[in-house]
Symmetry: D2
Subunit: 350 residues, 4 copies
C-alpha cells in the first residue's frame, strides 16, 4: 500500500504540534510521512534522538528512526508538506516551500489573514480553495492553505448552520484546555485549581477575526468577511484537551428552535458527503443531555475530529445561546490540516 | 468581651454553609454564636459528634462542645439567626423564626424574590432594608433578609459602578468553583480535567433575576427591577473556591474607559464608609495585570470578602467587557449574610 | 458471526463496573452480551432508561435498547455471567448463579479469599483454575472464579518475575485514581489539589492478602499463600485512571539488575502465548525513561490491559525498588474478568 | 518597632523561594528586611519592577519599592542574610558572604552535607550549631547554616520521637506538591490528572542522606549520621502545597503503640519551649482521623509551620507505618530558615 500513498512532510516535526501530526497520520489511507523537517539543532539526528515525545502512548515506530532534515525545500522533500512550525519562523519557512512549488498545508497563524490565502474549514468553505491560484502573483510555484485557530474552528462550525438565518452578533466565552499552549506551556503553579482569564498571543483577536473570514463569502480575489460582529473572552482552565465555548448570538431572522436544531443536525459538507478519511460521520453532534458536551468525556470521539453542540436555548440578551466544543490539538490543529489536505486531494488540487 | 457581644444562632449549622458561618464568625467583634440549630437527627448531640467538618483547618474549639438544637424558635434561641438551611426546608424554618419575632438573615434562596424581602448587597442597596416592615403584613413579629446567589453578588457589585451610565444589557459567563455545590457536591469523576457546561437548581435563572433585583430601585412597597436584560451561562470548572465571571455589557451612555475605571475604583458603600467589621477596605479591587483576577490566587484576600475586577476593555458586540470574581462561600454566602447583619446593626434594625 | 459467539450476561450492569464490562466487550470476537442484570428498581426498563452512562464516549448502541433483567438465574440467562455486583449483594447473587449451574466470572471481592475459589491473574496462576471442581462440594452445579483488587493485579504481575529469586518482603505504596471509587465516588471537594492518605473498604488489607494468594502455589485443595510479607500504604490522588504503585522488595537470592530486567521483559503467560483476544502482546512493559510509567499517559495502552514497570533500582532498605502501574477499571477490573473468561475458554472450562 | 528589629537580607529575592521568604517575614517581630539581593539582571531595579510575583495575594508593599542589589557582600548588606539562591550559583554567593563575615542562613542544598555545616531542624538538633565555629578554619569571618530538603524536614521531625527506640530502617514514599519545583516548574501538561514517579535534581538521594545527618549525633568536629538505612521513593502529584510522606520503619526496641503516640504528642524542642515567633505551638500534630493529614486541608495551619502525622499502625514488613506532612515552601523552605535564625538569635549566635 505504501507505494501508492502520497508522500508528505512535516515541518516542525519535533514540537508538540508536529507530534500531533505524526500521531494523527498513523494508518492514514492516503498519506505517508516521508520527510520530517525541524530546526538546525535537530537536523541530522534520528527522530527519536531529536524529540522528547510528549503525547500519550509511545512514539510511533514508523518515524522513530527516520532522519530529521532541515526545514528547507530540499530535493527529497515531498510536494505536500504540513506545517507545524512556530509562528516566529513560519513566515520564512512556509514561503520558501511555497516558492519552490510545494503545497503547504499549514496550522500556523502567519498567513491565515492574507487575502489570497484560504482559511479553510472543509465543511464550511471549500470554495475558498479558489484563492490558491492567486498566490501565483507572489511568484510562488506552490501555495499555502491554512486552518483556523483552535477556538475559531468549533465556533465557526457551530455557527455555520445559523448562517442562512442571518448572523448579526456573536459573543463567545471559551474555556480552553492546557494542551492549547503547547509544551512546556502553562505552568502547573498557574492553573491547578485555578482559571486564568487571559490567553496571550492575541488569542481573542484571532478568534474574532478568523471566525468572520471562515464564514465569509468568496469574491473574485478575496474573501469578504461575514458582516457580523464577534466578541471573544478567552480563558484557560485546568482541562487537558478540548476547548469549550459558551456562545450567544443574534440573528436577523427569527427561526424556531426546531428549525435551528434541524439545521444543525442536518448540516454536512464535502467531508461527510465524500466520506473523507478524517471526516467525522456527522459534521456537528448535537447532544441532548443538559450537561454536555464536556471536554474530557467527549473531545476524543471520532479520533478527535468531532464537533459538539448542546444546550441550545433562547438568550435574553441576544437571540440564542448554546455550548460547543472540539478537541483543540486534533480538530483544532493537526487533524484540521489533514482534513484540509484530504479536501484538496478530492478536489484535484494536490 | 463576650458578655457585650450580640448572641447569634446558626440554622443548618452542621452543613457546609453552616460550617462556613461558624468559621467566618470566629473572632467576630460584635456577634457571638450561642445557638446551633440542625435537623432532628443531629439535635441533642454535641456539635463535634453531629458534624463531619469539611472545611480546611480544624473545627473551632468554641463550637465543638456546644449542644445542637432543633431548628425551631425555641426559648433559648437568640433574636438574630443566620440561616444556612437547605432550600427544601428553608421555607418552613425561616417562616417559623420570623413569625416568632426573630431576625432571620438568610443565605437560602427561598425568600429572595419575594416582593417584601430585601435581597441585600450592603454596598449597593442598603435602602432595600426599608422593605422589612412590610413583612408585618404576613403576621410576622420578626423578618427575613436575604443575600443573593454566589454569582449574582460579584456580578452585581462589578456592575454597580456602571449603573449611573445606564445599563441596558448584560451577558455573563461564569466559571464556578466546586465548593459552590456543597458536600459531597460534584463527583471528582465529573470534574477532574473537565468542564461541565451546566449547573443545576436553576442557577442561570437565579443569576438573571437576582441581578436585576439587587440593582433595582426601592419603590413604596417593592423593588422595581433594573430595566435591563441579563443572560447567564453557568459552568462548573475544577477550581476550589472563587467564581470567575466574564461579562459583556451595553450602556445607554458612552463614558470613556477612564471614567469607568474611576467609577469602579472609587465605588464605596456603607460597609466601607462605616468600616463594618467584615467589609473589605475597598468595595471593588480593580487589578491592572492582564491575567487577573484568578480564583486560586485572589479569592481569599480580605478574608474572602474582596470583590475583584480586571481586563476592562471595549466589547465589539456590546460596549464593554471585563472579568470579575469573588469567593463564593464567603463573599458569596456566609460572609455576605454576616455583612448584611452588620449593616442592619449599624442601621439600628437588630 | 453473532450466532457463533458465546452469549454472556452482566450482573450489576447499570453501575460503573457494569458499564466498564459493556464498554470493554464491544467488538469482542468470542463473547456477546445477551443479558443485563440489575437491581429490582432497574429490572424491566430498557438499559438506556435504567442507566446514567458515566464513561467517556456514548453508550454502546448494542445495549441501549436491551431490556434489563433481575439479577437472578432466570431461564434466559446465559451460562457465562460476569459479575459487577456491589459487594453488599454479591454474596447472594453470585451463589445463586453458581448453584444454578452458571459460570460466574466475578470482579467482586466477596469470594476472592475462599479456599476453593481461584483468584486469577492469567499470566501468573492459570493452574489455580483447578480449584473450580472443589466448588461442587458446596452443592453448586456451576462455579465462581474471581479477579483480584485493582492494586493487587499490577503489583502481583510486577512481582511475578521476581518469584524465582525468592520474594521475602514487599512494601507497596499506591497512588490510586479516583475512578477506583466508582460513581459518585470521591467528592471533588476532597481530592482537587489534594491527596487522601486512606482508602476505605479495607483496601490495604485486600492488597496485602490477595497479593500472597495470587502468587501462591496450588496444593491439592487450596492455594498455599506465597511465604512472604506484604505491607500496603494506599492513597487517593487526583488522577482519573491508572493506579501507580511504588514498591520495595527483598529477595532471598541476589540476582543482578540485568538478570531481573531479563526476567521482567521475557515474562509471558498463556494470554501471550495463546494470544487471547484481550491479552496485551507483552505481559509487562518495562519503560526505560526515568519518569515513567505515568497514569494519564500510559494507562490506556493496549486498550487498558497493559501493565507497566519502570525505575528498577537498588533499595537501600530492602533489595530492589521500582514503580508499576495499570489501568484500574480495565486491567484492574472489567478487563481482568474478561481475560479470565478467555483463559477458561481456551482451557475448555466454559 | 522597626528600629529595634534586626535587619536581614534576602539573597535570590526575586525567585519563588525569595518571594516565600518575603511573604513569611511580613510582620516578623524580630527581623526586618532591609536588603534584597538578586542577579545582575535585576540589580538596580525596584523590586516590583524586577519581580513577577507568583505567590497568592499581592506583593507586600514594604518591599515593592525597595531597590534590588547585587548578590554581593556590599557595605550596606546586613549581617544576617537568608539565602534563597539557586543551587548553580549558591556555592559562590554564600561563600562570599560567609567570608565577609555574614551569617548566612541558607535554604540551598549546596553546603548541607559539608561536615562543618549544620543541617538544622531546631526541634531536633539545635546542638549542631556548635559546628559553626569550625567554619573559621575555612578562613571565613562569618558562617553558613542550612535547613534540609522539603521532604527531609517532615520526615525527620516525624521520626525524631522514634529515635529513643532505636531507628534501624526507614522506607519513605513521598507525594510532593508542584510548588516544590518552583516557577515555571512542572508543566501542567505533565501533571494534570497524572502522577510523575520521579523528581529530578537527586531528590531521593537528598532525602536519604539528609535525614540521617539531621537525626545524627554531634561529635567533636562533625555530625555522625544516624546509624540507619533510608530508602526514598519520590513522586510528583497534582497538589499545590504540602508534601505527604508514607513511611514504614523498623526499630531495635519494641515499644507499644501507646508509648509511641505518647512520644509523638509530647515531642517538643527549643522552638516550643522558648516560643520562638515562627514555631508551631506543637512540634508534631498527631491527627486521629483515619484520612488525615491532607495537604490541601492541613498544610497551612500555624502559618505553614505545622508538621502533621497520622495513621500510626503496625507494618507487616517493618515495624510501624504512618503518614506525615508539612508545607513544603514554608516549613520545608523559607519558614525553616527563619526558624533557624530565630534559634540562633536566642542562642546568642547572631
Amino acid at each position: 500500500m505504501s507505494q501508492q500513498r502520497i508522500p508528505v512532510g512535516i515541518l516542525g516535526a519535533t514540537g508538540m504540534v508536529g507530534q500531533s501530526f505524526i500521531n494523527f497520520l498513523q494508518g492514514h489511507p492516503w498519506f505517508e510521512i516521508t520527510f520530517l523537517g525541524a530546526s538546525d539543532r535537530s537536523a541530522g539526528k534520528l527522530y527519536h534522538e531529536a524529540t522528547q515525545w510528549r503525547l500519550d502512548g509511545p512514539m510511533p515506530a514508523s518515524v522513530a528512526n527516520m532522519r530529521v532534515e532541515e526545514c528547507k525545500p530540499l530535493p527529497g522533500a515531498p510536494r505536500l508538506v504540513f506545517s507545524a512550525t512556530d509562528s516566529y519562523v513560519a513566515t520564512e519557512i512556509e514561503r520558501a516551500f511555497a516558492e519552490a512549488g510545494h503545497c503547504v498545508v499549514s496550522n500556523s497563524r502567519n498567513y491565515r489573514m492574507e487575502s489570497d490565502v484560504p482559511l479553510l474549514v472543509p465543511e464550511i468553505n471549500p470554495d475558498h480553495l479558489k484563492l490558491l491560484p492567486l498566490q501565483a502573483k507572489r511568484g510562488w510555484k506552490g501555495f499555502i492553505a491554512t486552518n483556523p485557530n483552535c477556538v475559531a474552528i468549533p465556533l465557526a462550525l457551530a455557527l455555520a448552520p445559523f448562517k442562512p438565518f442571518g448572523i448579526k452578533r456573536i459573543l463567545s466565552t471559551s474555556m480552553q484546555a492546557v494542551s492549547g499552549a503547547g509544551y512546556p506551556g502553562v505552568p502547573s503553579m498557574d492553573i491547578l485549581g485555578n482559571v486564568i482569564p487571559y490567553i496571550g498571543g492575541g488569542e481573542e483577536d484571532k478568534v474574532e477575526r478568523e471566525t468572520l473570514k471562515i464564514l465569509g463569502d468568496l469574491k473574485v480575489d478575496h474573501v469578504q468577511d461575514l458582516d457580523a460582529k464577534v466578541s471573544a473572552h478567552c480563558n484557560r482552565v485546568p482541562s487537558i484537551d478540548g476547548h469549550l465555548v459558551a456562545v450567544s448570538l443574534e440573528l436577523t431572522q427569527k427561526p424556531t428552535r426546531d428549525e435551528l436544531l434541524q439545521a444543525i443536525k442536518s448540516y454536512a459538507g464535502i467531508p461527510q458527503l465524500k466520506k473523507l478519511p478524517s471526516a467525522p460521520p456527522q459534521a456537528i453532534y448535537y447532544m441532548d443531555q443538559e450537561d454536555r458536551p464536556q471536554p474530557r468525556r467527549d473531545a476524543s470521539r471520532d479520533r478527535g475530529m468531532a464537533v459538539f453542540m448542546g444546550r441550545l436555548r433562547e438568550c435574553p440578551v441576544l437571540d440564542w445561546k448554546f455550548i460547543c466544543m472540539a478537541h483543540n490539538t486534533v480538530r483544532g490543529a493537526a487533524g484540521a490540516a489533514v482534513l484540509n489536505a484530504e479536501l484538496m486531494h478530492v478536489e484535484g488540487i494536490l
